[in-house]
Subunit: 661 residues, 2 copies
């Protein structure tokens, strides 16, 4: 029996009916009505109450009631009158609980007895109408800022219609915990609000009002907070109260689904392994054990399929098979499988029409596809039935938040022989690649937190802290998700600026996804053919490398000759890597070699890479030099949604001729 | 003789040549080469030095050299080798000064003697090549974080090629000042970096790396900092070092011009009134004394001119004159003059073609137009010569950062009789308006700081702190500029979200400007005719007003009847105001009454207004009800740049018919 789940209207964007409908559609059972959403709405509280009832949403609480307790007269009397007005509203809405948050006014009296007396009178008036009052310590309350202080006042007031409300953000942002909560009678725990947040060192009020996140998206120990509350006997709803600028501006249904996903995950984390006594265990299927990527699939058309195969050829890839019935080929190099799909009227061709050449699917090796699928479904990611031909095998799949297909392939199984005519293995032209090291995605602003939650919840990936990368045209923020074994690594990049490499990619291609793929090479200096179109790295970079790391002249010369970048970690691990030019300004490949346990991604070199790409891109756009791959869209034109590979915009057509190889 | 002005490449976006060209074009004399900009660039340091020389830019400094002093061996030795490599670079660039910022490494030894010895050795090596070393305390340095600590080390090292570098951000962010700087010999002050910032309570490293501003845009006392440095005898360049995410993503020439404007203003502030001894006085003309708006001018076409006059009629406006030779009329109500310009082939018609109906000019009453113009020109806002007809008077004008014309009209002069056939005054249908209370502009993200600087510099306006306003579809940030007399008040609104009222306006109309005009009404409840299309305010708002302020039933009923909103300040002042519906979804009017010295803008009501507008906008877009003004573009379509009033996009045309009144 999962805990009842509720969400505050302030978490969601739009008008009040938008919010209620989205919460109900996602599957919430309860809703907190945030006062501002009601008073800006042009329907009566009765109508809002009816809307909630029709949608199957219980109004769990009405909030907030601010700056109430311990005020001098005449404010005290006016506050009690104000409470009566709000009780009218609550009765019309059909909720019995109001949240009083601790007073922030400078004039608040430093007298817990006065606060208790005021709250007792409010509770007495509430009780006369069958209503209840919950008192919560705001982290920035003037006299009451910790839950224990709030509890002391509630205890002192000693009224059955008065209880305590806990909020994970208000406690955890202060570094506080719930030690001592066991001493609070469980019937005095009236309500529980949950919020996560990134660890930021800023004033707690700004942090709270702009940067809260859903549990699982941030860095606060919300799980152990919830566990402590359940241990103390609380059995009411768990309710989200998130103030986040990006969520306020995002499509409401997406955010509502993320919200419920976060609570399902949290509920499972708390009740899954060792549920508190008296709390039923949860039963989400455990996350899959991942063993890397079985393949990546690219949506292409016939011309770009040949061009992409050509680029891959310079990295040692060769055609390893053709699909028995479709225009689909398998390119293979060592442990890396890439599928190039140019089948007309397929999901891949739809993707191609939308975005041009793009990764349309990734296949993960999992220990148990059925279990992985069941977990995904429990976490609001339904199974996706891709169209297949007669006699073809069906691979279980779900979809990532941007629509990319994620196939679930049993580790060690052969998925190729059934559908492909496989070629006999040939002598390799280059040393074999070990596999796919990482896959980088470019996300539109506002999408990072949702992706992080998806991958953490559905596949149990871990999230690193955010890195900031300086592009010549703005800041790129990067957060990496990876499996415990590091067999799957997914850096996610996001940029507010449309002019950065990341931002340009997103704005130009409407956000469809993978922007580079890194192959693990046992010896990166031997991993590319001499004619591979590798990104030029400026000489100044090598001068600086020499100064920073004291590398010898021979090593420097070898790095420079191979267009290689270099990084070291504090433990003496090192990282050598190189990039290809971008394919049709869409995506590029990286070759990486990790030495001595290096576990990062060469972030200090990202600025060098992005500057080199910006320079290269500008050269091609201005017609100086030629792209090693045909560019069929204009790289400098920012009118992304207009631009489709199949229908280049007029400005694009002007320059595309000059960019043909 | 102004102080020589310099800027660090890191302040600006783009590639290194972009940055150099923009700095030179703006008029800077010097440039700091930020290391990352050099090492990501594919030209040699010699080539960069030549580029600077060709552009007339002195390379004032090469920076930063990090984590140098007081390291244990073998790092110490490697750091000295690293310094030699960087000396090579400096000589190639053609600069003699390097900035060493204090060490942030945990391993830094807490020994000022070691730091001094290391810096002495570095200075000795530098001197051998004719170079110099400047040492700066980073606010987050491990052992050295205050300028006095840095000076103690420089003093101890006692080498002629070693000196001190000061940075306003690193000192002021720590709450430090320059007391004691007089004791430092002026020849030891090697360089001065300047940066402003908003007052934020966050960790100083994040604050420094993302939120610095140009002097005059923030809240730090940069002027008195500079005055102290000049008093101590410094006569070198004043150089900007700003790390700001928005500046990094903005067009480089705009930011470079803002940068120089900020230094010209700062220079004048410091040397204008009471220059430090031995520093020549500055001579910018003083800012104008403002006496309100003489008029606002709207760019319209003939149909929208009639419709706008119709809307204005409901607020008591009447035609007061017609231009003698152009399709231009003067609408007047009490102290408010509005010019409606539908003249073909004029600047106004160009504006109309670009943006649809929009404010294209505002005229400010100033004590001395020639002096105001001279000041503007000194601050990089050249005079703008609008085309005029033969025999017409020329009014001096400049342009705001978004291209809006700003006419400068001598207070008390008659600008109307010469060009207009004025109608005889008629009995007014409604009580006269006192004037224009404030004019609100909607800015595209990234433009707020530039606008603030323009209005502070050119007109001496003061900037209030930033307000945050919750729109149903995202956060709107608002910052108000006003003259000391409050005769000119300019709230500036900006939103990251395209779905907010502000963001939708900006994205739909490419950012052209004024989004509402507030008229001062001595009695706001009598200021609109019964048929004026006033924005509907939900009943719940009035219930809340009653609870918050304890207003009587009669007062509440009067407010509700007049669609009026209400606010109070802590001093007992109050504010009563009302909004019209938006005109063609482009702009709207507000009626405001200030009582008892109320000096704000009713910010607590902004959420109610924006929710009501969003609701109204959606109703019209869905064809429910009719707009009181014809809507000729689709309000729900976000394809702003496609959408011109003269060329509505295809989606717009689908719905425009249903939206006609």
């Amino acid at each position: 029996m999962p805990l009842p789940k509720s969400i505050a209207t302030v978490c969601l964007s739009g008008t009040l009916p938008d919010k209620l409908e989205a919460a109900a559609l996602a599957g919430f059972q309860g809703i907190e009505i945030f006062e501002n959403d009601l008073l800006t709405y042009d329907g009566s509280p009765e109508e809002v109450g009816r809307m909630c009832a029709d949608l199957g949403l219980a109004v769990t609480i009405y909030q907030p009631f601010r700056d109430f307790e311990a005020m001098p007269e005449p404010q005290r009397r006016r506050n009690l009158d104000r409470a009566e007005r709000k009780f009218d509203t609550m009765q019309a809405l059909g909720t019995d609980l109001i949240l009083v948050c601790s007073n922030t006014q400078p004039a608040t009296l430093p007298e817990p007895e006065r606060a208790a007396a005021d709250l007792r009178e409010m509770a007495e008036r509430a009780a006369a109408r069958g209503l209840r009052v919950g008192f919560e310590a705001l982290a920035w309350g003037k006299q009451t800022s910790l839950w224990r202080q709030a509890w002391d006042i509630v205890h002192l007031a000693d009224h059955p219609a008065l209880g305590l409300i806990l909020d994970s953000f208000h406690s955890l942002s202060r570094g506080d915990d719930l030690a001592g909560l066991d001493a609070v009678p469980s019937e005095k725990l009236f309500f529980l609000q949950l919020a996560d947040a990134p660890k930021l060192s800023m004033d707690v009020l700004s942090w709270s009002r702009h940067f809260r996140l859903f549990p699982g998206q941030g860095e606060l120990p919300v799980g152990s907070f919830l566990r402590d509350v359940l241990r103390a006997g609380y059995r009411g709803p768990i309710s989200l109260e998130i103030f986040n600028d990006e969520f306020r501006a995002a499509p409401v249904r997406r955010i509502a689904r993320d919200a419920l996903r976060s609570l399902i995950l949290l509920d499972d984390e708390v009740r899954g392994a060792a549920p508190p006594a008296g709390v039923p265990a949860a039963a989400l299927p455990p996350a899959a054990e991942l063993a890397g990527f079985e393949f990546l699939e690219f949506a292409v058309d016939d011309p770009s399929r040949g061009q992409l195969a050509g680029l891959l050829g310079t990295l040692g890839f060769a055609r390893a098979g053709l699909h028995r019935s479709k225009s689909v080929e398998l390119q293979r190099q060592g442990g890396v499988n890439l599928v190039l799909n140019s089948e007309p009227d397929s999901a891949a061709s739809e993707r191609f029409e939308m975005f041009g050449p793009a990764v349309c699917a990734m296949a993960l090796r999992v220990d148990d596809p059925a279990r992985a699928l069941a977990r995904a479904q429990s976490l609001l990611s339904p199974a996706w039935q891709e169209r297949i031909g007669e006699g073809e095998q069906r691979i279980p799949a779900i979809r990532a938040p941007d629509g990319t297909l994620i196939y679930l392939v049993r580790t060690g199984s052969d998925i190729w022989s059934a559908d492909f005519n496989l070629a006999a293995p040939q002598a390799a032209a280059l040393p074999p690649l070990a596999g796919i090291d990482h896959v980088v995605q470019a996300l539109a602003p506002g999408h990072l937190d949702g992706f992080v939650l998806f991958w953490r919840a559905v596949f149990g990936l871990q999230a690193d802290p955010v890195w900031e990368l300086p592009d010549p045209f703005g800041i790129v923020r990067s957060r990496t998700l990876s499996s415990a074994s590091r067999s799957v690594r997914l850096p996610l990049n996001v940029s507010e600026s449309r002019q950065t490499t990341t931002g340009r990619f997103v704005s130009a291609y409407a956000g469809a996804g993978v922007h580079h793929v890194a192959f693990a090479a046992p010896d990166v200096s031997a991993a590319a053919a001499p004619d591979a179109p590798m990104l030029d790295i400026p000489e100044n970079y090598y001068d600086d490398l020499a100064a920073r790391f004291g590398l010898g002249d021979a090593q420097l010369a070898a790095l420079q000759r191979g267009h290689l970048l270099y990084d070291q970690d504090a433990q003496g691990g090192s990282f050598v890597h190189a990039y290809t030019h971008a394919f049709q300004d869409r995506f590029f490949f990286e070759l990486v070699e990790r030495r001595g346990g290096y576990d990062q991604y060469g972030a200090p070199n990202a600025a060098v890479r992005m500057a080199a790409q910006a320079r290269q891109q500008r050269k091609w756009a201005s017609g100086k030099g030629t792209s090693p791959n045909p560019i069929n869209v204009c790289g400098s034109c920012a009118r992304g949604r207009e631009r489709r590979a199949s229908r280049p915009c007029s400005r694009s057509r002007l320059t595309s001729a000059t960019m043909q190889a």
